[in-house]
Subunit: 324 residues, 2 copies
């Protein structure tokens, strides 16, 4: 089955699903944020996974939408916490309405995700809810760690990976796992799909960090070096800080990190030069390939026919090779 | 079984339950708000209800705690929205920490309620989750209506009752319903218990509105007339506004509602005098008794022995006769 068909089914469901209307003011922000688009990676993963076993993968569409609704709930609340004015080129909910609306509509959106999961048939329902509960709590844990890291002096690579595992990767893991559970797959397969999702998530995030520094502006669609300008503790920056002494660039790197006024382009160019001296890009690519390889290894172990695996393999390769 | 034993079991579970610790900073606000006390009405209702059929009512303790955790989640988020500095005599979470913490710890608290519900046995689990989903969404809907009413010109009694039904009463209904489902009761009994809870909730709220104006300060423990000072659209004020013309006090009432500076005691005394002219207290008491009577009627219809019903009847009578 082609990815395109999964995405069509998801977008149709997003366009048609009614969350509630009593009062409409509570539900408008849900429909708004869901209408802003996005890659719909997570629900696509659920359908891909379900279709490994299920001919009738359509029965996974509502559970798949639950994952996308949960993801957008986290965006709605994260945007308040980050005071982000823009999401996907449009005003964020707390900007378009206000913070109270973004809190309360976010809350009901989390409940809406559980309502969509109630479409899972009885035999698999408790398993799904328990796994979703754990995942949802972990995503909150990851967001908490992310906020704490912003003011933490030293963040190790292990800590960073643990943070992105929780904040981002476990939901990709759950998305794939969910499809397998809904399809009635055996526990070994369910576990392998979870592992594929988590490792794709980690690889995806390291790739994101690489693109922010080494991507082409025209393709990435946002200012290159944004993370450097903000002193963000990305995988690359943590690597640079860990190796700066070995390469004799501690003082230079710290000078740029501590400068309060600077020309953006000048800072990006200078820090990038330090990264190049250390070989940060190669380190990051090696780490990224490591995670993608773990995902491909799990995919290999999965006991389904090669042609069925192909849609997941291509999807993973697209994530690996993407330039934006 | 005495109420005291239920409350002991709940307080023990609250003291011992571990929500998570990774990172502790995310979970500290949960433990804090749960430690602030409160009447624990809702989990007590769940245990009372379960004990109508179940000798071993202890198996309902974790589900009962889920209701209390959910209730405290709503308080944590409502306090942000209301900019409330104090909750149960202590600093609110967004004051003691900050707004971001109160948002995120609240989110994980909602998930924690679902985690506790996962203790319900498989046969009843989906029923419980579906009813909880609906209830949780309705509580958000009630909070949204409450916020909208603050700036709405005319609020009718029907609208007000619908708002408090959603914001407060359905959770009391669910608390009783949950105990019955966990105990494996028949659907007719489950529905009767829900109806008891909802009507107790409505009666409870009208009683609250009465006590705010007509309670004894020493017993109520807060300033009498707070709702009048803030022009809050309570059951009493709505009744007064509806009948003001009939009693020729429209101008007088509006003068007090529109005054921007006033002496608090003077306003409370004057508005109370208008209420007395109209007979607002009698109207409110009649409405309150109406709801309590509906609850007692449903209790009468319930097919369990009289001595088992007694704990719920006494509990309801205590709510009806309370002076604070």
């Amino acid at each position: 089955m082609a990815l395109k068909l999964y995405l069509e089914a998801i977008n149709k469901e997003i366009a048609e699903h009614k969350y509630g209307n009593h009062p409409q003011e509570l539900y408008d922000p849900l429909e708004y944020i869901m209408s802003l688009g996005g890659k719909r990676l997570r629900p696509a993963l659920t359908l891909m996974s379900a279709n490994l076993w299920l001919y009738n993968w359509q029965k996974a569409v509502k559970p798949a939408l639950a994952v996308e609704v949960f993801h957008n709930f986290t965006l709605m609340h994260d945007d308040i916490m980050d005071q982000a004015p823009i999401r996907r080129g449009q005003a964020t909910v707390h900007e378009k309405w206000d913070t109270n609306t973004a809190i309360l509509s976010g809350d009901v959106m989390l409940v809406a995700a559980y309502e969509l999961l109630a479409e899972v048939e009885d035999a698999n329902f408790k398993h799904v809810i328990k796994r979703f509960n754990r995942t949802a709590a972990e995503v909150c844990e990851g967001q908490q760690l992310d906020m704490m890291f912003a003011s933490k002096e030293n963040v190790s690579k292990e800590e960073y990976i643990e943070m992105i595992r929780l904040k981002t990767s476990v939901l990709l893991g759950f998305a794939l796992e969910l499809g397998a559970i809904v399809a009635g797959a055996d526990q070994e397969s369910v576990d392998l799909l979870y592992s594929i999702g988590v490792n794709l998530g980690l690889g995806f995030q390291v790739k994101d960090d690489i693109l922010d520094v080494y991507g082409e502006q025209a393709k990435v669609g946002k200012q290159i070096g944004g993370d450097i300008i903000e002193n963000k503790k990305t995988w690359l920056m943590i690597d640079a800080l860990e190796k700066a002494e070995e390469f004799g660039v501690v003082k230079e790197l710290n000078t740029w990190l501590q400068k309060e006024t600077f020309d953006n382009t000048e800072k990006v160019t200078a820090v990038k030069a330090i990264f190049d001296t250390i070989g940060v890009k190669q380190d990051a690519e090696q780490a990224m390939h490591g995670y993608f390889n773990l995902a491909f290894d799990s995919l290999k172990k999965l006991n389904v026919s090669e042609d069925k695996k192909q849609v997941i393999r291509s999807f993973a390769e697209d994530l690996l090779n993407r330039e934006h």
